[in-house]
Amino acid sequence: MSGLAGKMQHSLTVAGQTDYPHGFTNDLICSQFMEATGAEIVVRCLAEEGVEFVFGYPGGAVLNIYDEIFKQNKFKHVLVRHEQAAVHAADAYARATGRVGVALVTSGPGATNAVTGIATAYMDSVPIVVVTGQVPTPAIGMDAFQEVDTVGITRPCVKHNFLVKDVKDLAETMKKAFIIAATGRPGPVVVDVPKDITAHTTEFVYPASIEMRSYNPVVKGHSGQLKRAVQMLLEAQRPMIYIGGGVVLGDASKQLVEVASLLGFPVTNTLMGLGGHPATHRQNLGMLGMHGTYEANMAMQHCDVLLAVGARFDDRVIGNPAHFAREQRRIIHIDIDPSSISKRVKVDVPIVGDVKHVLTEMLALLKQAKDKPDAALTAWWTQIELWRSKNCLKYNKQSSIIKPQYVVEKLWEVTKGDAYVTSDVGQHQMWAAQYYKFDQPRRWINSGGLGTMGVGLPYAMGVQLAFPDAQVACITGESSIQMNIQELSTCKQYRIPVKVLTLNNGYMGMVRQWQEFFYGSRYAESYMESLPDFVKLAESYGHVGMKIEKPEDVEAAIKEAFSPALKERMVFMDFITDAAENVFPMVEGGKGLSEMILAEEL
């Protein structure tokens, strides 16, 4: 035995230097060096794409990939505590940076847990690539352990998805995934990789770009339509600009502000469009829709020319479309997705194209135009100021119980409006949207379309990792936070110093509000009994916990949380807030936009 071992060692030593042992040809060794396994290819593709973070959770089908992650140092892997959070964190990273977010999960339950995250990103058009493990190709369809039809399950909630059946297609598929996710109307792309593919080898070549004959997103707007639009804007008596998430996602905020300033028109943002036009700007009327401001909804309803940019007239924004159509108005709609145009509301001038590109062209046309905006604009602003003077976001500041709105206002003051704010879903989300005045795009990170409770904490993680020095606040409720509370552990592991502000009213607040208004105050299953002691819970993970019960303590608590002393610490603030508080204004489902319920004080 020892003799044999000695001989082998000798041969290898020789092979490593100059000559090769019998049976090893030069070619074979070279090709072995150039070939890469599927797992290596996945990792190298991510590195080629300049990925900074991969949010994930290992499992059987992705062990080969994790082994390659172990060996590399190009990107950092962030181990979450539930796959849903991995996708949310990747999604938030993408929303805050504009780059493609990446998540990696295993087959079966790994993939199904990721689905909520994928659907969330899909509804808000966020570019992410999710790599899912799959059982080995011979086992597909055999009801193998941890097998699901990932491509089938995710199909309705992805921009596109792939099942890789040959390692030779892997690099090209990864490239396609990144291109498809990031271009046109962005969205999530799933790449399902069977385990045997991650072990097979092939030569690794990462294409610089790929032409797809079936995929060519439009960039430039139609010049004739643009001219018509400009003419229409200059003739408007009661104009309105309505912007959505497309302005934020399309990085067109600067161009939008220029167009709006040049025209002097009022601007409203959707929930997804917050920050696309500065909230503190005089021309900004705040958010519109179900919980929009009085002035924004009234102006939207009564305008005669509407410029819609990167928005989709959804049910939470315009209320009942028949009621909306009662008022005569001409609509110009700029959107990258033709299917968003004339979907719920007929438009007069559709302009399909990248919003930044189209607005740049529009700006040039406006500057050349001989006409100026119509003089009737002054009267329109007088009307709008009258609506604005209703002060619809007024609330009781003398309360001895903490008002949730007050917490958000104080957060805005303490962070000087400069924080990244994530939220969960419900009343606190609306208060965050109404009272935190976003002056910059990509600062407001929330689940607008799908309305996914539980996004807040993983969203904050994704943002904080992208911007380690930024102030990141998660405004949440005691119900939402519990849907991904396990991520307190991830925050501990990676020392992610996000600040959580829980507006704890003991109820699923928005459910409670609807039950109060529409179900005779029968609060079916909306009371959160048996809440944990959030302070102790946070502390058990090594974080800082605070419980705030009096209005006079709110500001000091927030100041302390954002103080240099706690800069490196994750802080969990549990604000005990008024359980009876409701979100106003409110447009009931099915009602018209101008049929708002306002707060009782008004």
């Binding site: 309705p156 596109h160 059946k165 498809i180 797809m212 033709p338």
Partner: protein
């Protein structure tokens, strides 16, 4: 006003291509009257013909949503212009006694061909528009029908009008 439309499309001949289209129709609650699909002379391309009904707004959305699918290369609403529509139907009927000759005559009138015969049955092949096939089924005694199988419509534009990559 709902009307019938024949939508033709070319898409990448990839696994799962059909389910992307079928899934889109069910997810958005669009009608599908029939859907046929097969590869073209270029094996990398599939051609699909979808017969659907809907208002102008719905049909506009359907074509936009189809175009949005990454694998779809081109979409054409054939019913927007001159077009030819054909469907194949195989009908197995009882054919005995005096009715046997009558059945043959009716098939002839509709330019059907009898492609299989037993002592008691005929199997008739018919092609034409969907309404012609419907008319044949109306023309014969429904009690005589044992089995029908229809392919759903295929369509092509008239003259120079074509759907090509």
């Amino acid at each position: 006003m709902n009307s019938r439309h024949i939508i033709s499309l070319l898409m990448e001949n990839e696994a799962g291509a059909l389910s992307r289209v079928a899934g889109l129709f069910s997810a958005r609650a669009y009608n599908i009257e029939s859907l046929t699909v097969a590869p073209t002379e270029d094996a990398t391309l599939s051609r699909m013909t979808i017969v659907t009904t809907g208002s102008e707004d719905i049909i506009e959305q359907i074509t936009k949503q189809l175009n949005k699918l990454i694998d779809v290369i081109k979409v054409m609403d054939l019913t927007e212009g001159q077009h030819i529509e054909r469907e194949l139907m195989l009908v197995k009927v009882k054919a005995v006694g005096a009715g046997r000759e009558e059945m043959k005559r009716t098939a002839d009138i509709f330019r059907g061909r009898i492609i299989d015969v037993t002592e008691a049955t005929y199997t008739i092949e018919l092609t034409g528009t969907g309404s012609k096939l419907d008319a044949f089924l109306e023309a014969i005694d429904s009690a005589l029908i044992i089995e029908t199988v229809r392919t759903g419509a295929s369509g092509i534009g008239r003259g120079e009008r074509s759907l090509k990559v």
